[in-house]
Symmetry: D2
C-alpha cells in the first residue's frame, strides 16, 4: 500500500508572473499533477471512463501556505502524503522543496481534499460514491509526521 | 447578419509573465473569449449539448503577430471579423487595440480557423458536420478590409 | 473606508477542464482579480513601480472550500471582505455566488492572506514592509459576519 | 552546433478543457517550454539577468495547425527545428507527435518567431539587439526538411 509519493518538476516561463515568481495558483496545479502521477504509480488513471458514467475526483478543499517564492527554472520536488482516507474521500498533504537550493528548502505546504464522484454523461451531474475497492485497497494513510 | 464584433478586456496579473508583459499564449485565450461572446451576441452558445451529442468548434489553425506588448491593467479592445465562411468552418481575424494609449494603438493581430463538429458523448470522437443552418444564417463574411 | 467589494465575471471556455467544470485553480485567479479590482476601486494599483523598487503583495496563504461547480458561461459574483488588517498584511475572505441560479447560490468561499513587500529591481529580492499609509487608511476590517 | 531538439511531455488535467481535449493555447505553452529546454541544452537560460538589463526573447509571431486532438495523459514529443536565424531573431518550427499512438502520430505543427531584446530594469522598455555571439555561434539552421 502506498502513502507517500514524490514528483519533480521545473518551473516554466508561463508559470511565472510579472513579480518574477511562480504565480501562486500554479502551486495548486502542481499539487493536482502530483496526485495524478500518484494514481498512475498505483496503476490507475484519475479519470476513468465507462459506458454511461465517468469516475471523477472533484476538489472540495484546497489550501497552501507559501514560505518562499519559486522562480523560473527552479526545480521543485513535491511530496504527496495521504493524510485521511474515508469511504468517499481522501485528504492529501503536499510539501514543496526547491531542489536547486543546497540543502533543499521547503518553500510551500498545501492540502487537497477530494471526493470520489460518478459523473453522468448525459447531464454532467456529479454524485458522491464510495471509492472503488480496487483503489481504496492500494491507498494507506501515511503513518507519521514528516 | 453579423460580421464584426468588439469585446473589451483588462489584462490581469495572472495573464503576465516574468518579462512584465502579457504571456503570448493569452492572446489566443482572448481571441477565443471574443469568439464566444460573438456567438452569445447572436443568441447562441459555442457549446451546445444535445441528448447524445455535443456540438463543438475545435480550432484547426491559430496564428498571431505581436507588435507591442500588453501590460498589467492595460485595457484591450478585441475586434472580431469573419474572414471566411464555408459549409463546415469559419475563419476569424482578431485585431487587438490598447485603449489606454491615446490614440488607441494596434498591438497584435491574429487568426482562428475553426470547424464545426459533433462530439459523441460515449467515446468523445469528433466528426466534422455542416454548420447548423440557424447559426450559418446569422454569420456573414466581413465586406471590407479594416 | 472600504471593507467590501463585489466583482462579477463569466466563466470562460479556457477556465474549464475535461470534467466539464471550472478548474479549481481558477477560483484562486478569480480571487486575486477581485482583490486587484478592489485596489483600483480605492484609486490604487496592486503593482506600484518606483525608480529602484516595486511594491508588491505576495500571497502567504490561500484556501478555498468548493460546494458546487461552476460551468462554462456561468456568471459568478465574487464578494471580497477584509477580515484582518495588520501593519504588514491583509487577510481577505471571498464568497462566490452563481448569479444565473435563482436565487443566486453560494458555490465557494475562500481566503487570501497577503503581505506588503518591496521588491528590489536589481536582484528581485522581496522584503516585508508596512502597508503604505495612503493605502492602509482606505482599508477597514469588515464589521460583521455575512 | 545545434539545429534540432526533442522534448517530451505528458498532458495534464489542467491542460484540458470541457471538450475533453488539450486547450489549443497550451500547444503554444508547450512550444515555448521546448524552446527553453533547447536553450538549456546549449548551456544557456532564455532569461539572462545583468545588473541593469535583462536579455529577453519576446515572440513576434506564433502559429499552429491542429490535426488531431491531445487528451489527458497523452505523451507528446515536441521536436524543435531552427528554421531561420538572422542577426536579431530566430524562427523555430515545432512538430508535435503523440507517442502513445502506434506508430506515433503527428498531431500538430507550429512556428514561433522570436527576437532578442534588452529590457531596461528601470522602465521595462524592450529594445531589439543582436543575438549575443556566444548564443548565435551555437545555433544553426536545420539543413533539411523533416
Amino acid at each position: 500500500m502506498a502513502c507517500e509519493f514524490k514528483f519533480t518538476r521545473q518551473v516554466e516561463f508561463s508559470d511565472t508572473d510579472m513579480a518574477g515568481i511562480m504565480h501562486f495558483s500554479n502551486f495548486f496545479r502542481f499539487m493536482e499533477t502530483t496526485e495524478h502521477a500518484f494514481f498512475r504509480s498505483l496503476g490507475f488513471s484519475i479519470h476513468t471512463t465507462g459506458s454511461d458514467e465517468t469516475l471523477g475526483w472533484p476538489r472540495v478543499h484546497a489550501d497552501c501556505n507559501f514560505k518562499h517564492p519559486l522562480r523560473f527554472e527552479d526545480v521543485v520536488e513535491i511530496s504527496l502524503l495521504v493524510r485521511e482516507k474515508s469511504e468517499k474521500g481522501i485528504v492529501y498533504t503536499f510539501i514543496f522543496r526547491k531542489l536547486n537550493d543546497h540543502p533543499p528548502k521547503e518553500v510551500a505546504r498545501g492540502t487537497l481534499g477530494v471526493v470520489c464522484v460518478k459523473r453522468d454523461k448525459a447531464d454532467g451531474k456529479m454524485t458522491g460514491v464510495p471509492i472503488p475497492r480496487a483503489i481504496a485497497d492500494k491507498i494507506e494513510v501515511a503513518p507519521c509526521e514528516i
